[in-house]
């Protein structure tokens, strides 16, 4: 956290400045967004957001409640399609291809861009079924042995295998909150996506479970691109390489995590991370 005595001269942009500050594109960009606007009916939830998310990078999205960070990551796998009255304009490219194109099918997109939700939401089925469901519907494996293998590797990568290996046919909803969230992560990586979106994955968890998930995110970075929405600035500082600060539907500042937290260039970012609001 920033110290109080930091001189305000380093703040170059005043609160009235609404253009994004910092380098929005990533050198190894996998997802590129250009001037994305989201409307919920009349409400303009996101305004002109441009942001790139790089390969094997964890990007943290921070900002006060209602600033549009969840809305933004839900655009990346088109989960906003399920919200009635939601309209998305602008361009989002995944590996150079637009994901909001006419001919884009959301099913393969969502298999490619997995999502972990705020509240752990395992299916009310067995632990095995929870993890096996994705590979099964996508036809990724055809044998029972193959399925068992996928389930085991996914649970291992989610750091849950040792805890649940003896009770795979117990209901997933019977696990503790932290275990449920790791089960959801295992379910997501069982489909072998390329990008994982996490919408405040630790908000319902205790500090120990949170530490486990954070460690897991760090390990997953080697294979996946991860975008994580968080309310905890410590968490953003711990797990991410880049940080994006949202404010009232606008992307205010993007930069290397260390830079954003120690040396923000926008007054609003400074206000937020020093706890003046939020």
């Amino acid at each position: 956290m920033k110290s109080k005595e930091k001189s305000p001269v380093e703040i170059t942009f005043s609160r009235e400045h609404l253009e994004t500050v910092g380098e929005v594109s990533s050198k190894t960009a996998r997802i590129e967004c250009h001037k994305v606007n989201v409307f919920y009916g009349e409400k303009h939830a996101i305004q002109d957001v441009s942001l790139g998310v790089g390969r094997n990078e964890v990007i943290a999205l921070i900002g006060p409640s209602g600033c549009g960070k969840s809305t933004f990551i839900r655009c990346l796998n088109r989960m906003n399609d399920t919200v009635p009255g939601c309209r998305v304009t602008g361009e989002i490219l995944m590996d150079g291809k637009p994901i909001y194109g006419e001919d884009v099918d959301v099913v393969p997109l969502r298999a490619q861009v997995g999502m972990v939700f705020q509240k752990p939401n395992p299916f009310p089925k067995s632990i095995f079924e929870n993890v096996a469901y994705g590979p099964r519907i996508h036809g990724l494996v055809h044998t029972k042995a193959g399925l068992e293998e996928v389930v085991e590797t996914s649970l291992r990568r989610a750091g849950l295998w040792e805890e649940v290996k003896d009770r795979l046919n117990h209901p997933g909803t019977g696990l503790s909150g932290g275990q449920q969230q790791r089960l959801c992560i295992a379910r997501t990586i069982a489909v072998d996506p390329e990008v994982i979106l996490m919408d405040e994955p630790c908000s319902a968890l205790d500090p120990i479970a949170t530490a486990k998930i954070e460690q897991l995110i760090d390990e997953l970075r080697a294979h996946y691109t991860i975008a994580i929405v968080t309310h905890s600035m410590q968490q953003a500082a711990r797990v991410s390489q880049r940080t994006a600060y949202f404010h009232l539907g606008r992307l205010i500042e993007v930069g290397e995590t260390a830079q954003v937290f120690t040396n923000p260039r926008h007054q609003l970012t400074e206000d937020y991370i020093t706890g003046r609001f939020g």
């Binding site: 796998n77 989960m79 399920t82 009635p84 009255g85 959301v106 099913v107 393969p108 997109l109 969502r110 298999a111 997995g114 999502m115 939700f117 509240k119 939401n121 395992p122 299916f123 009310p124 469901y133 994705g134 519907i137 996508h138 909803t173 959801c184 379910r187 997501t188 069982a190 489909v191």
Partner: protein
């Protein structure tokens, strides 16, 4: 703002005022609970009155009085040629057999009117019963055997003490019959047997042969049609409206109309059925097929509304989870949402069915109120249903039909209790918490 205003010193005055208001609040609370308790007691009381009245009126219909007579299967009467020809045996006068047995027992009854009163103690179906016995077993001819014969319904009422004494005094005929019945009883010739006819036969003009089986099978066939049509249609409609349909003016309109349909008086559906299914499509009148179609129209809104609320109660996180790993909308619904909503949908369907089972008004309009003796064996044959049967019997003048009405109500209530119990069981058994 000064600090003392934000945190005023604790005053004992507040506490005093709270203490002072406590008795009043407690009284109000006790009164509130009492009102609730009283409502429940009132409700239960009415239920108890209803059940006692129906059970006390109806249970006696489940058994029937029989009288033993020593029947001489007189070969000169039945088979004068001695050839045992089927046509001759079938054409013989079997009523004469039990009439002869009766006059043997009461040789002093000779006056014509009295004799007629004596003969009317035995059910008119007794002759057919004896004919059946002889047909089964030719060896009976020439023998004398003690046979239990059903009595007439008036005598049955007498034996069950269902006649007011004033009424019995008024009629000399009934008076005589009471005397004779006492004599039968003294000789041990009276017994009460399970009223098989009530459970196995269709309707009849004679109370002693009137049964409920025709109405039960009519109800069963009608409900089968209703279930077969309304469950798939209702579930498909509920799933489409809740999970797939866009939210716009049209779906709002549909929703309003479904709610309206659920409130339409059922007799209107009966008129619709008469106009469309019978007059326009020419389907057979009085048939369970048409009855089932009409009840389907009536049950559909109930099933759709129950199904939609069951689907609505599935938490959206389940849908998000499935969609989030790339399940198609159909997979999401079939694999995750529907299994969770199923108990609720089934409960709604069973309650809808129970309502359909108890419905009579729309079926009157399509002719299921006709007097039908045969037990229906297919959905296109004329039939009646339990509630309509109750209506018909309640309208009959014979005293014996009063107890049959109550007995039929008991049977209907039994079915309803079983169905509602099933709904409760399903809800408890498969209810999930998340």
């Amino acid at each position: 703002m000064s600090k003392s205003m934000l945190n005023p010193p604790k005053s004992s005055k507040t506490l005093e005022m709270v203490q002072a208001s406590l008795p009043r609040r407690k009284r109000a609370e006790r009164r509130f609970r009492l009102y609730g308790l009283l409502s429940i007691i009132a409700g239960l009381l009415f239920l108890v009155i209803l059940f006692t009245s129906i059970v006390s009126n109806g249970y006696s219909a489940f058994y029937y009085t029989n009288i033993a007579l020593d029947i001489e299967f007189d070969s000169s009467q039945l088979d004068p040629d001695g050839k045992r020809e089927a046509s001759v045996l079938a054409g013989a006068d079997y009523d004469a057999l039990w009439k002869a047995a009766l006059s043997n027992l009461f040789p002093d009854v000779t006056e014509r009117l009295q004799k007629r009163a004596l003969n009317s103690m035995i059910s008119s179906s007794a002759g057919d019963m004896l004919r059946g016995m002889v047909k089964e077993n030719h060896k009976l001819i020439g023998e004398t055997q003690r046979v239990w014969l059903p009595v007439d319904d008036v005598v049955d009422m007498l034996a069950k003490h269902k006649f007011d004494s004033d009424e019995a005094d008024a009629s000399a005929r009934v008076k005589n019959q009471i005397e004779w019945l006492d004599r039968f009883e003294q000789e041990g010739r009276v017994k009460k047997v399970l009223n098989k006819a009530f459970f196995t036969k269709g309707d009849s003009r004679e109370p002693e042969t009137a049964g409920i089986w025709g109405a039960v099978s009519g109800s069963g066939l009608t409900l089968l049609v209703t279930l077969g049509l309304s469950l798939p249609i209702g579930m498909a409609a509920a799933i489409y409206l809740e999970e797939f349909a866009p939210r716009n003016r049209w779906t709002d309109l549909i929703e309003v109309n479904i709610n309206n349909l659920a409130a339409v008086p059922s007799i209107v559906f009966g008129l619709l059925g008469l106009a469309v299914f019978i007059n326009l499509f020419g389907l057979p009148r009085s048939s369970p097929l048409v009855g089932g179609l009409v009840l389907t129209l009536m049950t559909l809104p109930v099933i759709i509304i129950a199904g939609r609320s069951a689907l609505k109660s599935v938490p959206p996180s389940v849908r998000e989870a499935a969609l989030g790993i790339g399940a198609s909308p159909m997979q999401t619904v079939l694999d995750h949402v529907l299994p969770l909503a199923m108990p609720g949908m089934m409960t709604g369907a069973i309650i809808g069915m129970a309502r359909a089972l108890g419905e009579s008004a729309p079926l009157l309009m399509i002719g299921m109120v006709a007097f039908i003796v045969d037990v229906p064996s297919s959905i296109t044959e004329a039939a009646t249903v339990l509630p309509v049967q109750i209506y018909l019997w309640a309208d009959s003048p014979e005293r014996a039909f009063t107890e049959r009405t109550s007995a039929a109500i008991l049977v209907l209530l039994l079915f309803l209790i079983v169905m509602n119990g099933m709904a409760v069981y399903l809800r408890k058994r498969y209810e999930r918490r998340w």
